[in-house]
Structures are given as structure tokens and as C-alpha cells.
Amino acid sequence: MYLELGILALFVFCYSLVAGRVERAAASGPIVFVVSGFIMGPMVIGWFNGDVSRDGIKVLADLTLALILFIDAANADFSVLKKKLCIPSRMLLVGLPGVIFLGTLTAAVLFDRLSLLEAAILGTMLAATDAALGKAVVTNKAVPKQIREGLNIESGLNDGLCVPILFLFIALELGHVEGSGTMHALYLLVQELGIGLVVGLGLTAVGAKAFTWCLEKGWVTEIWRQVVVVALAIACFSMAQSLHGSGYIAAFVGGLLFGYIAKDATHKLVLAAEGVGETLALTTWFVFGAGVIGQSFDDFTWKMVVYAFLSLTVIRMLPIFLSLSSAGEKAASKLFLGWFGPRGLASIVFAIIVLNKGVPNAKFLAMVVVLTVFLSLVAHGISANPLSAALGKRPDSDN
């Protein structure tokens, strides 16, 4: 207990000292944390026992995803979205279902042991992309503006959209396995989503109104201003969970509404929450390295590597390419948008959810997710700067 806490705190201390240097290098924070987690975990040194089913770790992963869903949704600027709706809305409305479909199909063909619904679960888990990992591309001035904004909005919203789809597939699979009937499973799912929706919208509407009111009165002090968004996001999530709704949906719609209501103030407020979110995210990466990677090792097969490779390339790139067919972008830009869908935190938390729900082949699915995320960390991390520069230099890409 104290040993784990001590090592983690020491590691965060050391990382906070060199964060500025690491960000300039090719290795991103997540890679550093995953690798250190793996080295200190049960597979190598054994300082961390890395049991993912422990309550504390599940809560950590839950809260991290809730916070990220809320923050990303709040940051999705709808005024930009309206003007440049074309790219992200095509990617989300046409591309995302395509990615899930193709991912399901590939999994069903490649892995005999998976049922069709389990293949669909895998396809959905790996369809969500990670906005934080895409930051190197999204903040790179060499990349044309509409592509950067398109990627940013897409990766901010697709994890939230994947949540109900994932829960639908899990409910169907469990209803099928336990024999309690598909209708019953669907009924529970609708209830869960509905409660999440109501809690998220209700709490945020009241909270954001109260916030703007207190802000005008000058009651919000500097120190506590940092806490507002974090507390609201966690309140939405845990309130919905305790009422047997989906906390992720609550955090996601809450974030969307908060971004809409608090317009101008959003950015400043969300910034503090981002710091907390980032720390939580890196801690989750560390746990991922220590626990999840080691735990799923024995199921490893070469077919998984093939699937991970396909998932990063054809499964995402083809639907995205097709969905943008009449958006007026060059082929190079469309391929670029297709490639830069790094898989990350959302996929990992999804894997932990699936592990905890008791889906029959959960460990197998988790291993595929782990492998894909790891490949993505390396490949997208290395290719971000060179490919951005290459795209920026193409004479036909500026407009």
C-alpha cells in the first residue's frame, strides 16, 4: 500500500520536473508512464501487484474517463462546429459506424472463438480515439487548420458516442449468455442511458446557472475556481452511477451542455480541470502498464497483432476516407485524417469495463485492445511530427 503510493508519488515528482523536456522529445507522457508501469509491475520488478479488479483502480479509471469525456465535450466549440461542420460530422456520422462495422467484421473473420456480439464489442472499443494523444498533430501549425479542428472535434466526441453502442453490445451479449432475454437487457440499457442523460443535463443546467450567478456576485475565489469543473464532472458521473444510470453518458452530455452554457468562461475554467485530468490520465496509463498489460499476456497470439495492425490502418482509414469523399479534401489530407486516430485511454477504460462486466472472452478482448493501444502509442507518437511536416509541405494542400 504505502510502497505503491510512495513509488507513484516519487515517479510523479520526477516526471513533473522533466515534463517540459519530454514533451519536446518523440516519447510522449503516456509512453513513459506505460513503460515505467510495466517495469515496476508484476511482470518485471513486482513493486505493484497490478490487480485491475481492485475497487480503487476501477474508480480511478472510471473517474479519469468521466473527467475526460466531460472536458473534451465542453471544449467542443459548437460555433466552430457549425461553420466547419463538414469534416467532423461526416467522420462521426458516417465514418464512425463504418469503423465499428469493419472492425466487427474483421474480428469475426479473424478470431473463431469470439461470438458475433463479442466481435462487435471489440470493434466498438477500438473505434474511439484519444484527443490527448492526438495533441501533437492538433497543435501543430504545419497542419491545415480545418484538418486540425476536424480531428480535434472528432476525437473529443467519438468516445462519448461509442459508450451507448458499447453498452448495447455488452447488454445483448450478457442477455444472450445468461439467458435472461434480449428484451430485458435492452430495457435495462435504455433505462441506464435515460438516467444518465437526465442526470447529466439536469445537474449541469442547474450547476452552470448557479455558477454564472455566483461568478457575477464575485463569490468564487481564485483557489476554489480551479475545483469547479472537476467537482461538477465527478458529481454528474457518480450521481448517475449511484442511481443505476450510465455515468459516462451523464459526464458526456453534461460536458456538452456546460460548454454550450458557459461559452466564454469555458476555456479558463476547463484549463484547471485539464491539469487534474492529465494527472489522472497518466496515473491510469501507469496502472495500465503495471496491471493490464501483464494480466493479459498469456492469451497472446499472432492473429492479435494482425488485427491490431488492421485496426490502426484499414479498419479506420477506409471508412474515414470514404466518408469524406465529397468533402473537397485532397487524398493526402483524407489519408492523414484516417491515420491520426490514436487509440488510448477510452479504449483502455472500455477494456476494464468489459473485464469487470464478466463478458466470456473479456481477457482475450482486453489483450487485443492492449496490443492495439500499444502499437498506436508507438506508431502515432513517432509519425506525428514527420507526417505533419510532410502534409504541410505538400504544395497542393494549402487553401
Binding site: Q226, A231, G275
Partner: protein
């Protein structure tokens, strides 16, 4: 699980909205949090179901105290004191032991069901004062600056000094009950714990500050991550010392003092973030206090407890403080003022959580006494701060003009 989290998060959200408005009223944060915990806890509506025994909660309380010890100790920069160190030195070296002794004598006369070491525990738990609760007085310009500095330094350091004393009494109290463990062995373990704590705190902080300076100069510490080094260092000191079988609180306390001495330039900047983290943790600890500690010890409530609490806030602290300040060129008013403004708070709560987890025979009476004293202190010191400061100022002006 999620129910508790939802209530806490909603409460933190609401408090963060109205924090500025509340600061203008006599209610300080601690009153609001403790009342909130009390109302929603098992004694009130029963919405918050917290157990002090739960590993998570005692870890939370411990981390809070660790963070507070570290930041308070590093803020008390002894070399930068404008006035002499005489007042706080006397308060800490003579006043504090006398307070514990007097608290022990009072407890011996009032409580008859408790063992001697348990009474000594009560006296020690209620000796440290809370720097955060004293802020209203310490930041008030109406109070002479030597008194403010004296109170500030005293309350920043006395909790750290009380930690080893508490552990010695705790070891003695548990070893007399248990079979096969001798007093000598218990004392050896405590000495070991303190020694390990000192070594870990000094070593880690020394290395940490050296690294921090190096990397800040290189410009590798970015804006987002600047918030983290001090909280992370404090938690590291605490957890490593605990893991090695030492006392994490001692490690944080000496680590904080060393940090305050070494990191002069960037100290204030870096500490600010740690104070924010400490504030949020303290808020939650106060809620836990209201919901769980009060509820779990209410069964031991008696008139002796109330009597002791009143004595603890008045004679037990005021008399020693009055006596040790003789010859310090202070008027009787000022000496009484310093004696009164020793609000009990966070340190006593965490001590209560630690003692509750040891399951001593008199554990409930001990924690009830602490609870009662803290409640009286939060109300009494909160309400009296502004009027008494004004009265002291008026008196001093009168005596100066006459």
C-alpha cells in the same frame, strides 16, 4: 460508494461557488464542512455512510495531515521572522509540554475510567493548534505583528512536535493492554519510527530540492506540471517513511522545514499549489469528521467530556501560555489573547482517527473528548475572532494614548 462520491463532489462544487461569499461571514470553512457532514451523516439524514475504519478514509486523513505538516513547516521560515524567535520558541519548548502536563492532570481528576496513558493521549491530541483555523486572527492587521507571527509560527510547528509524543503514549497505551510485548520494546519501536522518519524526510527533501533547482533552471518544468512537485514530494516523504516502518508525519514535518530553508526563491510559487491540494483534502477530512468521527463516538458523551473540553480550551492552554510569556514585554491582555487563540482542528481530528483505529478500551471516550473540544473550539474561536481582535486593538490604543 458512488452515492458518497456524488454527495461529496456536489458539495465541493457548491462550496467552490460560494467560497468568496462565505469568507466575509463569521462561519469559516471548517464549520460549514463539519456541519454538512453531521447533517448528511448517520446521525442526521444518513445519506453519507462513512466508516473511519475503512482503509481509504484513514489514508485520506493521514495524507491530509502529511500535506498540512509539510506546507506549514516550510512556510514557517524561521530566518525571515521580522521579530525575534523568542515568543514562539518559549511557546513551543516550555508552553507546549506544560499544556500537555496540565491537560494530563485535568484529565486525571475528571475521568476515572481511563488508563493513565489514555489520559496522556487525550492531553497530547488536544495540544496542537490549527494554523488554518487561526488564519482570521493571524491575517488581521489589527493585531500587533509580534503576536501574529508568534501565533503563526507556533501553530505551524506544534502539530509536528506532538506527533512523536503521541506515538510514544500510543505505544505505551497499547502495550500495557496486550500480552507479551514489553514497554521497552514499544519505546524502541517508536524511537526507530521517529529516526527513520527524520532520515527519510531529510534525505528525500534534500535530493528533491537539488533536482528541482536543477530542472527549473533548465526550463524543463512546464506550467501545467509546476503544480505537482511539492504535493508529490510531500506524499513521497510520507509514503516512503511509512513503508520503511517509520513515521510519515515526522518525515513530512522535517522535510517541510528543510524545504522551507533550501528553496527560497521559488518557494511561494511552488507551495501555493500544494496549499490548494491541502485545502481540498482538509475540506473532505472535515466532512468525514462531521459524518463519521462524531457519529462513532457520540455514545461516550458525558458531562465529564464537556467539562474537560472547556478546561482544555481555557486553563489548560491559557495558563501555561500566560506563564511562559512572562518577561516578553507583553501586556496581560496580549498574553491572554495568545492563550485563547489556539484553535484545535485538523491535527486533532487525524490523531483521533489514528487512535480510533487502535481500538483502545477507552477509545470512544478519547475521541468523544477530542470531538467535543474541536466543536467547541470551531464555534468559540470562530465567533470570538473578530470581536476580540477589535477589543484588543482598542485596549492597545487606549494604553498607548494614556
Amino acid at each position: 460508494m458512488y452515492g458518497n462520491l456524488a454527495i461529496l463532489a456536489a458539495f465541493v462544487f457548491i462550496y467552490s461557488l460560494v467560497s468568496g461569499g462565505l469568507e466575509k461571514t463569521p462561519f469559516n470553512g471548517a464549520v460549514v464542512f463539519a456541519a454538512f457532514g453531521l447533517v448528511l451523516g448517520p446521525l442526521g439524514l444518513g445519506l453519507l455512510s462513512l466508516e473511519v475504519d475503512a482503509e481509504g478514509l484513514s489514508l485520506l486523513a493521514e495524507l491530509t495531515l502529511a500535506m498540512v505538516l509539510f506546507t506549514d513547516a516550510s512556510n514557517a521560515n524561521l530566518r525571515e521572522l521580522k521579530h525575534s524567535f523568542h515568543i514562539p520558541k518559549k511557546l513551543l519548548l516550555i508552553g507546549l509540554p506544560l499544556t500537555i502536563l496540565l491537560g494530563f492532570v485535568g484529565g486525571f481528576l475528571i475521568f476515572d475510567g481511563l488508563a493513565l496513558f489514555e489520559i496522556a493521549l487525550i492531553a497530547t491530541m488536544l495540544a496542537p493548534t490549527d494554523a488554518a483555523l487561526g488564519k482570521a486572527v493571524v491575517t488581521n492587521e489589527g493585531v500587533p505583528s509580534n503576536i501574529r507571527e508568534g501565533l503563526n509560527v507556533e501553530s505551524g510547528l506544534n502539530d509536528g512536535i506532538c506527533v512523536p509524543i503521541l506515538f510514544i503514549f500510543l505505544a505505551l497505551a497499547t502495550s500495557t493492554g496486550a500480552e507479551g510485548s514489553t514497554t521497552i520494546l514499544a519505546l524502541r519501536l517508536v524511537t526507530e519510527a521517529i529516526g527513520i522518519g527524520v532520515v527519510v524526510g531529510v534525505g528525500l527533501t534534500f535530493l528533491g530540492v537539488r533536482m528541482l533547482k536543477q530542472f527549473v533552471d533548465k526550463g524543463w518544468v512546464t506550467e501545467t506540471w509546476r503544480q505537482l512537485p511539492v504535493p508529490a514530494l510531500a506524499v513521497t516523504c510520507f509514503a516512503v517513511a511509512q513503508w520503511l516502518g517509520g513515521s510519515g508525519f515526522i518525515a513530512c514535518f522535517v522535510g517541510g522545514m528543510l524545504f522551507g530553508g533550501l528553496a527560497k526563491q521559488h518557494k511561494h510559487d511552488l507551495l501555493l499549489a500544494a496549499e490548494g491540494t491541502g485545502d481540498t483534502l482538509a475540506l473532505i477530512t472535515w466532512v468525514v469528521f462531521g459524518a463519521a468521527v462524531v457519529g462513532q463516538s457520540i455514545g461516550a458523551f458525558s458531562w465529564q467530556v464537556v467539562l474537560y473540553s472547556i478546561l482544555s480550551l481555557t486553563i489548560v492552554r491559557m495558563l501555561p501560555v500566560f506563564l511562559v510569556l512572562k518577561g516578553m514585554n507583553l501586556t496581560a491582555d496580549e498574553k491572554l489573547f495568545m492563550g485563547w487563540f489556539g484553535p484545535r482542528g485538523l491535527a486533532s481530528i487525524v490523531f483521533a482517527v489514528i487512535v480510533l483505529n487502535e481500538h483502545l478500551p477507552g477509545g470512544e471516550t478519547i475521541s468523544m473528548t477530542v470531538v467535543c473540544t474541536i466543536l467547541l473550539s470551531v464555534i468559540g474561536h470562530g465567533l470570538s475572532a473578530n470581536p476580540l481582535v477589535a477589543a484588543l486593538g482598542a485596549r492597545l490604543r487606549n494604553s498607548a494614548s494614556s
